[in-house]
Amino acid sequence: MHPLTLSRRALLASVASTALVAPVLAAGDPGDPIRKLVILSAAQASDPEEFQAAQLLAQAWRQLGLDIEVRGMPRPQLADLVWNTRDKWDMTMWRMVGRPERSDPDEFAYNLFNPATAATGYDFIGYMNPDYMKLADAQRAELDKEKRKQILYKVQDAINEDQPYIFLVYPKNVLAYDKNIWKQQSVIEQSGIGIRNFWTFLRAEPLTSQKDMICNATEAMLALNPLYISGAIDSWLTEIIWDRLMRMGPDGLPIPWAAEKVIQVDPLTVDCVLRPGQKWHDGKPMTTDDVVFSFKAPAMADKSPMYKPFVASIAEVSATDDKTVRFKLKAPSAAFAASTLAKINLIPKHVWEPILTDLMNKPQNAETVQEEHPVGSGPYKVNRFKFTEEIVLDANKDYWETPKPDRVIMRIITNTSAALGMLPKGEINFLTDYRGDPKLLAELAKQNPNIEVVSTIDMGFRFLAPNQRRPPFSDPAFRRALSLATNRQMMAAAAWNGFAVPANSIISPALKFWSKPGIDDIKMDMEAAKKILKDAGYILVDGKLHYPAGVKETIAVN
């Protein structure tokens, strides 16, 4: 019976539309019904939280009279579809992950909604708002921290107003360690990152004769290379092997590190005064020459494509005396400290200059170089590595702040449950990578009082990206309605098992200094959502949402 009724209605509709070809559409007559909308998501098996969140969104938005389908697929396929065919999808689940240098909001504020990148870069949703970009440019050029904060509040308000993303949650990072082995106060929690960070690796105090910090990683490492951003796990170790002029502090703000002082001489000039007496792991002294080379190397002939963007703001770098390095910038940059000085690995010129020179006439780039004995100047030296098995680092006793642990040992443990079991047995004593159910970890801690679990709100976030190249998502009112019809509290509780908090900004509350207080307090209000749609001209006909009067559906469901 059902198909028959449908086709009869379709027939009537087509008769009606032919009858109304030329004549005036009365104001208030509904436009075309909105087509079925598709939410793309990672497959349930690969990311159950994301898939469930998508289901919850679909359920809620159906109450607005929308026909919504959730389509799960393998992540590479999803990324390929979203990235390379930008007008072929409606909505996709997406995420931003936290990294130390992202503690400065510039990377997100400037890149995510930049119309210049809409064709092939990160503005894959096709959001175009010149007013927003003015604010994004302004925060980047403002060197006064307080003033910049006020501009970033406006950035967050603009995003809240326009809802270019439907933000969902900031997940929590859950990690654990054995507090009989590591002194509790000395394990440092870095905002937006968690307890696995540079500061903990450097300063965690051993309480027993076990002075090895034995950590776990769920996937194999790929490389130990200061010119290749090879993956998250690799970065945990590269950042303690190769030192940096500045470091992102536990509060998410950059502090001088291998540079004793960082001086803003004028808006376009930054001087870094090196800490005296620093040495490379091979015993040779670190000079200003090495530092200058470190900031030039990433831009040399495209041999380090992944680090190149992080030195793009530098016009010139040179040594002014034997302990000072001067940076001349192309434009004033508030994020220079975080995204360049605290990001670029210091590398010894005597090691890398010959390597890069040799590569100049070859097709390979610096990412293909794996030193047998990597040489940095950071608090840990490489002892040995087997990327699918175990990486052993020794404390660098010549470092100007002696690391508290003797060694950092990273074991590749592919079985998450086994990693959990290893913690109370002492086979690992620091759970640095946990991707399982946080509840299981909490239970384990209950049974083993020596295990301390620390959960930290991530600086990354999960969101739904509506494709603004396609109606109805091109209409901010429509996006606002979707956002209001979203129950983030329930989503955090149900899809993330309580290990997440509601989100409504590109700046996580973990970044206390920059996050606008109250911006994430957004409650579901179905009635308000319906009212917004009604006020914007959308009309419900027989429980199905139609476009405002005169608007035709131009896109076929795919």
């Binding site: 064709a119 990160y122 194999a220 790929l222 780039n365 293909t368 074991r411 590749i412 449950s417 990693a419």
Partner: protein, 324 residues
């Protein structure tokens, strides 16, 4: 001789076909390796650079010829993710996989074979009635489940064995041989081997049993009985030896399958082997590494078949002179 030549040619053809299918399969799968680099600072220009660097900007047929040419030279190319030669990467984990696989296979086939012979010998006894369901059950158990069970009991429960990896954290050894021959390595090897043995023993046990039953009906066994030889001698010297042949083939083929098929056991026990590397490569669109790993597996499988065929030819001349 012409038999060997024919079989060899056949082997090369099969390998070429597999290489071609692998090549196409990975490139026709949705998604390309550049999606791994999507990042707020990642531009379309950079994407082109990545594709160019991997040679993925060239037409498919051109990629295919380069691939075949390299393969003929024994080159598998650079891994997209590790940025290192595929061959070296595979060789670095191959010893672990070989040790795990061969140890488990030998134990499974020795125990399974003997047990199968025993079952045939004691046909109709309580032992046989009770054992066959047990053998079938362990063979049918999913190996990840069995692995987790073994871990729960022997590592977390009793604490006799470590929970994963190939060595205790940070252990120092003078050389790779020292490491492999160390007691620590053996302790780490124990649980994955136990799991694999439990999973593998069913086939040799049942195969041996049915072969024995068949052989025991043959005239030479009756002859031996008539000569008045002791039952044990008849069973082990005469019957079992003749029943071993099909077991040899099964062993060869299992070896080929297991080289890359240990994925589950390797993941459960965090054993750094080829299977795990293969799964990672597939999941991350690392075509050269995945192709390389699959090719090695295919090669071992085809080669072991070839060897088994040769053995058959030697042991049973009728095979070599047959028309096929």
């Amino acid at each position: 001789m012409s038999y060997i030549g024919r079989r060899f040619l056949h082997m090369v053809l099969v390998l070429w076909a597999i290489a071609t299918i692998l090549f196409l399969m990975f490139r026709l799968m949705p998604g390309d390796p550049s999606t791994a680099y999507i990042d707020p600072t990642f531009t379309g220009e950079q994407r082109q650079l990545v594709l160019q660097q991997f040679g993925l900007d060239r037409p498919l047929y051109e990629q295919y010829f380069i691939f075949l040419k390299n393969l003929a030279h024994g080159e598998f190319g650079l891994s997209f993710r590790y940025r290192q030669p595929v061959l070296g990467l595979m060789l670095s984990v191959l010893p672990n996989t070989l040790l795990l696989t061969l140890t488990a296979l030998f134990i499974a086939y020795a125990l399974g074979g003997l047990f199968g012979a025993l079952l045939a010998w004691k046909r109709g006894s309580l032992l046989e009635t009770a054992s066959i369901p047990i053998v079938l059950t362990t063979r049918a158990m999913p190996d990840f489940w069995l692995g987790m069970l073994v871990l729960a009991v022997f590592a977390f429960g009793l604490g006799w064995f470590p929970s994963g990896g190939a060595n205790v954290a940070g252990a120092r050894y003078a050389s790779e041989w020292d490491r492999i021959l160390s007691f620590d390595y053996l302790r780490h090897l124990a649980l994955p081997v136990l799991t694999l043995v439990a999973y593998l023993q069913g086939l040799p046990a049942l195969l041996m049993r049915s072969n024995m039953l068949e052989v025991m009906r043959e005239e030479f066994v009756t002859m031996a009985r008539m000569k008045g030889l002791p039952e044990r001698t008849i069973m082990l010297r005469h019957a079992a030896r003749n029943a071993l042949l099909p077991l040899l083939t099964a062993f060869a083929i299992s070896f080929g399958q297991l080289i890359g098929g240990n994925v589950v056991v390797e993941t459960v026990f965090s054993w750094p082997g080829l299977g795990r590397m293969l799964v990672d490569a597939v999941a991350n669109s690392d075509y050269p590494l995945a192709q390389g790993a699959f090719l090695v597996i295919a090669f071992v499988l085809v080669f072991m078949n070839f060897v088994a065929d040769l053995f058959y030819g030697l042991l049973d001349p009728r095979v070599a002179h047959g028309s096929g």
